[in-house]
């Protein structure tokens, strides 16, 4: 039971008109692990994440969540299952403060009156549970936060909503070195709390420092999903650029039909 993946995707296909973006992709996410999703530009990483999040429908394939087959038809379905996505362009509203952002669209209280005190308390407790003490007040408008702090708020939102799987689409793409490190530290601690985490990243050093497992997409195909400790940096780079590395990845070219 417990060693089964929390989210399992089998034989996923997705086309945009004549362009076949994802070919029979198998992908698993395990609770308590950071799975890095890597691949070259256009390999289909973001498309895969958007299919999981319900933003795109898929043409064929099955999605199993906690052992049951599910049909995710929209972002609402995904959120209901406990799948939260953090995008690189930070889906936060600049003019609202941290509490308002964390509860955006899911405010607490009656129809006429929001329960501000309860929301503020929950937001503060969530940030504390992640030992995020870099934010001075939860009533700070998001516009005045640094990039790293904004990502922190976006990630904390996933924890607040009791998500089971968090997908992060290049959360550190727009950040400097030190802030990147702080966000990745948070990503690790998220997994240590038992969540299934998927991290899309281009930076191999980052991937090796936080990921437990590395999944590589190559031209829309999942070529390998391996534990980090069993591969080297070079092997992963080969998988990304050529689709295979030694025994790993695609079969020799002569047996592949394109």
């Amino acid at each position: 039971m417990s060693s089964d993946p929390i989210l399992e995707i089998k034989g996923l296909n997705k086309s945009f008109g004549p362009v076949h973006v994802l070919h029979d992709v198998d992908f698993t996410v395990r609770a308590g692990e950071v799975t890095a999703l890597v691949g070259d530009n256009g390999a289909g990483k973001s498309t895969l994440v958007k299919c999981i999040a319900g933003i795109y429908g898929h043409d064929s394939g099955t999605v199993t969540f906690q052992g049951n087959e599910v049909h995710i038809r929209g972002p609402k379905d995904a959120a209901q299952l406990g799948i939260e996505v953090v995008y690189q362009d930070l889906a936060l509203a600049d003019n609202l403060d941290i509490v308002q952002n964390m509860f955006l669209g899911r405010e607490r209280g009656s129809r006429w009156m929001l329960d501000e005190a309860a929301m503020e308390k929950a937001a503060r407790e969530t940030l504390a549970s992640l030992s995020v003490r870099t934010v001075k007040s939860v009533r700070t408008p998001v516009a005045s936060l640094s990039g790293g702090q904004r990502q922190t708020v976006a990630i904390a939102k996933a924890v607040l909503w009791n998500s089971k799987v968090v997908l992060l689409d290049e959360p550190t793409a727009a950040l400097g070195v030190a802030q990147t490190r702080q966000v990745l530290d948070l990503v690790r601690r998220l997994a240590e709390q038992g969540l299934g985490v998927v991290l899309i990243s281009h930076n191999m050093a980052d991937v090796f420092e936080v990921a437990d497992r590395i999944a590589t997409l190559y031209l829309g195909r999942m070529v390998a999903q391996v534990p980090t400790k069993e591969v080297t940096n070079t092997q992963v780079v080969e998988l990304i650029t050529a689709g295979r590395s030694g025994e790993l990845g695609l079969a020799r070219p002569d047996t592949v039909t394109i």
């Binding site: 609770a31 003490r133 870099t134 030190a178 702080q182 990745l184 038992g194 969540l195």
Partner: protein
């Protein structure tokens, strides 16, 4: 100073009563500290009683910052911690293969410290390090860290050269105990034991308010207390150590996970079990038995007011921790005598060792302020 660092902001009036000093003495002291930028005074928001409100004295986190380093078997975490125990910035990374060589670890620590310090533009005063192994306190020699395969590593010397600051090292469990005593579940207790399951099992002891350190600081290997004659072989060279029955590997066995699963996977499995206490009792029965047995020995030997369970143990279902508490109470003579030793999970979670390392670094710093 220590009072503010540990217990946080309080009013001038409270300081006067607690420290038993004259009101004007406190004023002079606080004024001096405020001038140096170490504390800040504010009018309290809530008033109690009549008269002019006593000013609130708040420690300023940026006034003194230390670097805390927690070296674990599967990764390293570092944090910059300000006066009052606030974590200002942090970083962590995995250790695989080459990356767990001592020289690589030190180089990585020095690099990422530079980034963090640059980002936060603070000055650090001292360094505290938690190491999963036996450490000589005087010069920071890591005598043996078996799970990391380190032997006789002069870690303290390397780090203080690399970082240009005084470095103090401690055993991870000893620092966990320190953290729980200063900021966690054992706050205010004068005798407490901290037992944690990280990769291995370790323990720290607070005795009459101060940490027990053993000869040269070689202390904390509570996990290698032999509990099962003819039991599983342990890497320490012995057989049937407590660690082999309740450590991470034992948890993986109980939960049907492959040995060496990531920590999060174990936490996730334990959390799932928390919802079904009957199933949890059945699956973890053996582990809980061994935990209780060891704790009976520990309590009988050391007579603590409470035992704090740290790291992986904090994810054990609450019902099981209560079971263990009851079991220890029935079986331990000492526990009965002190009216029931409390067995509680840590409130600091995975950060206990980091916080402990920060406190270790703060000790000499506070004295000079």
């Amino acid at each position: 100073m220590r009072r503010l660092h540990i217990d946080g902001p309080c009013t001038r009036a409270a300081l006067t009563t607690e420290l038993g000093l004259n009101r004007s003495t406190i004023k002079a002291l606080v004024d001096g500290l405020a001038e140096a930028g170490v504390v800040e005074e504010r009018v309290p928001l809530q008033r109690s009683g009549a008269g002019r409100p006593s000013l609130l004295v708040l420690p300023q986190p940026h006034a003194a910052v230390v670097l805390a380093i927690d070296i674990r078997v599967e990764g390293v975490a570092i944090a910059l911690v300000g006066l009052g125990g606030q974590i200002l910035g942090r970083n962590s990374w995995n250790l695989y293969g080459r990356a767990s060589q001592p020289d690589e670890v030190v180089a990585h620590i020095v690099d990422s410290t530079r980034w963090l310090v640059g980002e936060l533009s603070v000055e650090t005063a001292a360094v505290g390090v938690s190491v999963p192994g036996v450490v000589r306190r005087s010069d920071g020699l890591v005598h043996e860290a078996p799970n990391l395969h380190w032997t006789d590593v002069p870690l303290g010397e390397w780090l203080s050269t690399g970082l240009g600051m005084p470095v103090r090292l401690g055993n991870d469990a000893e620092l966990g105990a320190l953290a729980e005593h200063v900021r966690g579940a054992a706050r205010g207790a004068s005798d407490a034991v901290y037992v944690s399951a990280d990769f291995g099992v370790g323990g720290g002891v607070i005795s009459e308010g101060s940490p027990m350190r053993g000869t040269s600081g070689y202390f904390g290997e509570i996990g290698h207390m032999v509990v099962k004659p003819g039991g599983r072989p342990c890497y320490c060279g012995s057989h049937g150590c407590w660690e082999t029955e309740i450590g991470e590997a034992a948890m993986c066995r109980a939960l049907d996970l492959p040995e060496g699963s990531p920590r999060g996977a174990i936490v996730a499995a334990l959390k799932e079990l928390s919802a079904h206490s009957a199933l949890a009792r059945e699956q973890l029965a053996e582990l809980v038995d061994w935990l209780a047995l060891g704790l009976v020995n520990v309590v009988n030997m050391l007579g603590p007011e409470l035992v704090v369970l740290g790291d992986l143990f904090t994810s054990l279902p609450a019902a099981l921790i209560a079971d263990v508490g009851r079991e220890v109470r029935t079986r331990s003579l000492v526990s009965r005598a002190v009216g029931g030793t409390r067995i509680v999970p840590s409130v600091l979670g995975g950060d206990a060792k980091l916080i402990g390392a920060a406190e270790l670094a703060f000790e000499p710093v506070l004295g000079t302020m």
